[in-house]
């Protein structure tokens, strides 16, 4: 890599997305805010994958959708190739739309059942002016189909004529057809069988090598995230509690929640069967009524008086490893890299 300025694809800084909770019969008043994403920062280099993990409701999908501006952020910055797209209005956003694509968990509901594969793929190509002639459309189409492992004759078929794995291939083809630089993959293999999941993960890795696109890979499956990600962030109740290089996070987790999450994940090897591992007790608190101080303290066996008072800052504890926990607050507070 040459200079670091051009290496970074995306920098998300202190991103917030709040959903108003409304109440009232005739006149609806906002009675509270659900802070689905509450001050999240991370960066992705070109051609790299950032994995986001955490349990249901922690805010993974909301981060993904807010970054590509399917949702409007409540606060924070989203620098895509240096431009802050968080503040752009719809009209100026249009030129960035093509650069950011998303693949959803359920390919059945994300594909239009009345459009053939050919129609599904040619629509964005034409909309973004990527092709000029009918011949170009056809060339691009057969190239796309083969790059996701489908056959040219699939072009006239409808989604219901494909298996789940093949439908996800179509959704991926649609995402890559406009040469995006960032693809949000929101649980792209969660609805698939394991034997098909491996095909799709491998395909995504291959495509990344060719396209040099950055991926945000969202999943609750830690094994898949470890396999595909270069860096990982672990979320709890709208906050990223730990982030860093994938191997570092999986081999040396620091946050008590990360440790519990890893310990709870079973491993396909009966020899490592856990013997009375320490299990996390209780449940995730309500996102509308989060505890004071650190949100995890109510379930944390290391909780100290300081944890009730303020939310711990994200501190850097190693070259590429940061954690937000009072146990480690002697580290160097992570400085926000200014442009």
């Amino acid at each position: 890599m040459n200079d670091s300025g051009s290496k970074v694809l995306l920098e998300v800084r202190d991103l917030q997305k709040y959903f108003p909770i409304k109440s009232g019969f005739l006149i609806q008043k906002t009675v509270a805010q659900l802070k689905a994403v509450d001050g999240v920062s991370f960066t992705i280099d070109k051609g790299h994958t950032f994995g986001i993990v955490g349990e249901s409701g922690c805010g993974k999908t909301t981060i993904g959708r807010t970054i590509i501006r399917l949702l409007n952020p409540t606060g924070g910055n989203i620098f895509l190739e240096g431009e802050d797209i968080a503040i752009l209005k719809e009209r100026s956003l249009k030129q960035y739309r093509q650069k950011m694509q998303i693949v959803f968990q359920d390919p059945t509901s994300s594909l239009n059942p009345r459009m053939t594969v050919g129609q599904t793929l040619s629509e964005p190509l034409l909309f973004h002016g990527m092709v000029r002639s009918k011949k170009e459309v056809e060339e691009r189409m057969s190239q796309l189909l083969s790059s996701v492992g489908l056959k040219p004759y699939h072009v006239d078929r409808y989604p219901h004529q494909f298996s789940g794995g093949q439908r996800q291939r179509i959704a991926i083809a649609r995402a890559i057809c406009v040469d995006p630089s960032l693809i949000v993959l929101d649980e792209p293999t969660s609805a698939l069988d394991v034997s098909v999941q491996a095909q799709i993960i491998k395909l995504l890795k291959e495509l990344q090598g060719k396209l040099n696109a950055g991926y945000i890979f969202i999943s609750h499956n830690l094994s898949v995230v470890r396999y595909i990600s270069d860096r990982v962030g672990i979320m709890y109740l709208g906050k990223m509690v730990e982030k860093g290089d994938t191997n570092e996070i999986f081999e040396n987790p620091m946050h008590p929640y990360s440790k519990a999450l890893l310990a709870a994940t079973p491993i396909p090897d009966p020899k490592t069967r856990r013997k009375r591992k320490e299990l996390l007790s209780g449940q995730v608190p309500s996102p509308i009524n989060r505890p004071t101080g650190c949100f995890f303290r109510t379930r944390c066996k290391y909780a100290m008086p300081a944890c009730e008072k303020e939310y711990p800052q994200m501190v850097r504890i190693a070259q590429n490893h940061s954690v937000s926990c009072h146990l480690y607050s002697l580290g160097e507070p992570e400085k926000i890299v200014e442009k």
């Binding site: 349990e55 898949v224 470890r226 396999y227």
Partner: protein, 338 residues
Amino acid sequence: MNEPILKVEELRTYFDLAEGTVKGVDDVSFSLSENEVIGIVGETGSGKSVTAKSLVGLIDKPGRLAGGRVFFKTPEFPERQKGGYLDLAQLQGDEYTKIRGKHISIIFQDPMTSLDPLYTVADQMTETIMFHQKVNEKEALDIAVKMLDKVGFSNPRERVHQYPFELSGGQRQRVVIAIAISCNPEILIADEPTTALDVTVQAQILELMKDLQAEFKSGLIFITHDLAVIAEMSDRVMVMYGGKTMEYTDVFTIFEKPMHPYTHALLSCIPRMDQKDQVLEPIPGQPPMMLNAPDLCPFLPRCPRKLERCLKELPSLIHAEGHYIRCFNPITNGVSHG
């Protein structure tokens, strides 16, 4: 080894549809001993749930038991027993209610479908308890509270009067487990009991099920598509594909020296959280179509070890080297998955 409490032999359950026949379960065999956990693993549509439902008489039209025997050691129906076993496959309609819920209980994936949202936990628990045991309402409530305590509720006396919607997903699954074990069944069948739950909650439920199993010494049939959960829970494992038992042996052998090409391929294509720089080998192709499937090995189209013979006839389940295996060309010199 003690004598099995359940012996399933060549079980077949077919669905007759207008378009043809779906052989949802087509030649499944395994046995279960007291205090043993059998894990059943397979991908979508491989016949896991239909197997579970067939054991307890929950197959409805257009489905039918098309063959096989389900021998169960039980005091019920003494006049119809052979060699100390009752063949559950011979029971008719209502007769199953003497077995299901009392001697064999079943837990499904989604706790919301097994709990009635309109009734409190107490209503639902006492109903089952009073149906199978000779107790009055107050005694049934006491049993219910005791069971809720067993499955980990800290204040069962209050919790018992709550409605399902007042509980979290994990708590609901605990209630379902409490109902299932309330009559102290000899066999508990759990069909993907944690698939809808978050991993930290899944870990709690798995731990609970292991504890209860150890305490009650019942037999557990644990169904899942997740090989990691299988490794965590099972003593022996049955691998299903296309409605058939493909391989069936103890859990260590399945993971260390799988003999069936399908089991081997499955283990090579799952990402593992405990491994760095892993190489995945996806299985090419798709899982089989089950409608009017040919009488051949269902893995044939995707199998890297197929022989001429595989194109002509279906291998039967045979016993070899401590394995039960259905394959003409098994991996015999053992391939390690360390």
